[in-house]
């Protein structure tokens, strides 16, 4: 997990005035979270190149944020804003990929380039995550990996906090079902 930025609001204001170092600090603090959100969202659509595609989406998220940072308002948390952009772009990617007929799963994995070295854990994650609905996956990734508070997750996914909690509980239940069987067979 990357280190959070101290006094983020001031850093954002400096970045809005064109301070590249300030924007770089924001990018360092948030890029992993944005990457995860994009990665798990496109997992079923990108096959073996999910990491590459997620990295491209992450870059586009920050380019858009860089362009529009002057319009950012302190009422919204910066991370929520970024997560929302990431979800939108990742959803667009999924829609476009589905439209092109490059559908998810093993067929896409086979058809595309071989997974890279840093994709070694992909099959385990992918298989477990496939059990979840899109919303459950989004909510779970934001909470479990990105450590976002429920309220922020609600803002990013445009759900109520109680809906977020319901998605989260269901996601945990499903994952435990999938993983429990998997790890019981492999590890013990």
């Amino acid at each position: 997990m990357t280190e959070p930025v101290d006094n983020e609001r001031a850093v954002i204001q400096r970045a809005a005035k064109g301070d590249r170092k300030a924007f770089g600090a924001l990018m360092d603090a948030h890029r992993e979270g944005v990457f995860r959100t994009a990665y798990f969202r496109i997992l079923n659509f990108a096959g073996g190149s999910a990491s590459e595609e997620a990295l491209d989406i992450t870059q586009e998220v920050f380019l858009r944020a860089f362009r529009a940072i002057g319009r950012w308002r302190p009422e919204a948390k910066f991370s929520t804003w970024l997560q929302r952009i990431a979800l939108n772009l990742a959803s667009n990617y999924c829609r476009d990929t589905a439209r092109r007929g490059e559908l998810a799963g093993s067929r896409a994995t086979d058809a595309r380039e071989e997974p890279r070295a840093y994709d070694e854990t992909t099959p385990i994650v992918r298989n477990a995550m496939r059990a979840l609905s899109v919303r459950q996956r989004q909510v779970f990734v934001m909470r479990h990996y990105n450590d976002m508070p429920l309220k922020e997750i609600a803002g990013a996914t445009r759900c109520s906090v109680s809906a977020v909690k319901t998605h989260l509980a269901r996601a945990v239940g499903k994952l435990r079902g999938v993983l429990g069987r998997k790890f019981a067979g492999e590890m013990f």
Partner: protein, 204 residues
């Protein structure tokens, strides 16, 4: 089991670290008394630890450095491209163009008005009124209705006199040239039927 549904939900939330304090207190009270739920909670927390270990394949440092380089290249490219697009499509630019067009239209209208000596919208009415006001041959001319325009009325009367004289003598070209200078005379000439009689003779 009666406790299953409600406490499964709370156990899952606890495992995800999303339990609120009131719910946490209720769960703690329950697991203190229910061995099954206590066991389930322990298993759920262990499962989530396993899950944390299989995070997304985050890029390593070298890839993030490459990411940064590529990002700033693109961001700088955007910055260079932006002023051009702003110049092409900005609201300010469009507003300036509209304002310039409006100034040109107003200038042309003012020039036309100055040259013709009247407001375009009223021209038709004035022409008719003026034509009616043109005195018949030999008739004594009335004083101008507006004291602000005596010179103009006098000049118009002079021109009408010239037209009438040319028409009476049959000098068609002279008559038409004079009428072109005085548009009101066309209405007058048509209504008074001077043109046919003038056209008979010609002025070669």
């Amino acid at each position: 089991m009666a406790c299953e549904e409600r406490y499964d939900y709370l156990i899952s939330l606890r495992a995800a670290g999303a339990l609120e304090s009131s719910e946490a207190a209720a769960l703690d009270r329950h697991v203190a008394e229910c061995a099954d739920c206590a066991e389930e909670l322990k298993a759920a927390l262990e499962d989530m630890q396993l899950f944390r270990a299989i995070d997304a394949p985050l890029p390593d440092r070298a890839r993030w450095e490459k990411f940064d380089r590529k990002f700033w290249e693109k961001a700088d490219g955007q910055k260079r491209a932006d002023p051009v697009s702003r110049r092409k499509f900005s609201t300010r630019r469009i507003a300036c163009a509209v304002a310039a067009a409006a100034v040109i239209v107003l200038a042309v209208a003012a020039l036309w008005q100055a040259l013709s000596g009247k407001v375009p919208a009223k021209a038709g009415n004035e022409m008719t009124q003026t034509a009616r006001a043109v005195p018949a041959p030999g008739e004594v001319r009335k004083a101008p209705s507006s004291p602000a325009q005596p010179d103009r009325e006098n000049r118009r009367a002079e021109r009408m006199k010239t037209i009438r004289a040319a028409a009476e003598k049959g000098y068609l070209n002279t008559c038409l040239a004079a009428m072109a200078a005085q548009k009101d005379a066309i209405v007058y000439a048509v209504t008074e039927s001077w043109l046919p009689s003038a056209g008979k003779d010609g002025d070669e």
